[in-house]
């Protein structure tokens, strides 16, 4: 698994609604409904702290081999919504 590091966008507003989670991005003015998996991923990312993909996979209980593609998919959809950013 790659060592790419990810960080949650600053200033996001988040609310848990039952099993789901909604996030508001004050800069972009967008609102997103997150699936439980994406919500769990966001929960793993504290503000101001970058995490690498291996650590995120562990947080989500994904296995090294099978989990990679799934994790990538979630990360890419969160990234395109500006909810997370890649950090060098």
């Amino acid at each position: 698994m790659s060592r790419r590091r990810w960080q949650r966008t600053d200033g996001l507003q988040q609310r848990t609604l039952g099993q789901e989670c909604v996030v508001f991005h004050p800069g972009a003015g967008t609102t997103h409904l997150l699936t439980p998996a994406a919500a769990a991923l966001m929960d793993g990312l504290a503000e101001g702290v970058a995490m690498d993909e291996a650590a995120l996979a562990r947080h989500l209980g994904l296995s090294e081999e099978d989990g990679e593609a799934e994790l990538r998919r979630w990360l890419s959809s969160l990234q395109s919504a500006d909810l997370i950013q890649e950090r060098p």
């Binding site: 039952g18 789901e20 909604v22 003015g29 609102t31």
Partner: protein, 303 residues
Amino acid sequence: MRIADLGQTRLQCSLAGRGLYLRTGPFTSRIQSPIASVARSIESLYRDFEVADSQGFYDFHCELRAPRSHRRFYRPQVLFLSDRRSVFKPLAYHQAYPMLEWGLNWCIANQVPHRLVLHAAALERDGKALILPAPPGSGKSTLCAALAHHGWRLLTDESVLVDLATSEVSGPARPVSLKNDSIRVIRDACPSAVLSTPIADTLKGAVAHMRPPTDAVRRGHETARPGWIVFPRYQPGAPTRLKPRTAGSGFMQLIANAFNYAALGARGFHSAGRLVEQSACFDFSYSRLDEAIEQFDRLADGR
């Protein structure tokens, strides 16, 4: 003082002069119009509403009059002006009163920055609000008018006001707009309802307005706690069906029906969030009004 106490002559004088200061829920509207049909409709449909001090504050300034053009002599039209600016395309003169209602809705949607404003109907029972957000054509107003005569207190049929801090729900309790077939449906289902004479050929077909029940008007200042958010859909022949919806998708659907959610930013988000957290969300499809009323009775009683 209420509209009924004002009397026809004084009502017409204030409308044609400095304006009628009409109190609807939390708002005061200053309405000016020399048009007789506007005065007649206000006299009948707003009978129980309070008249505010004409030396006092008003939230919205509305004017209905003919455009100042030669056209007024051969095909008269009417304009709606808010703060002295025309905000809609003109309509045929006989549609002046429905235009006032649409204009007042426009004012709430565009000039209320301190509350989250939802495009929805709302009613109250035992202190709890039932919110019915829906696009036109979904049978929202029909349902709202029927429930308002069957044990629910009318809050609004068009613009729900949500407090930004507490998410308490209120509405202006103004007349309910009914279209085409729903005019007959409500006449049949609610014999005590007072409806205006339908106006044909508007952009929506025939339109009539229902006078809000007296109790709803008198209690117009009372807010309600969040209770239920139900997305109604009228489908000819469909069975009555109330189906739970997840809070997350209810939230997304609710904000899609808000007028000023985007403008309010994080405050709007949290206000809508609190509202959804404290409410139960459902989808509701129906074709029979009597069954729908029973269904909402059961919902209120927790059955």
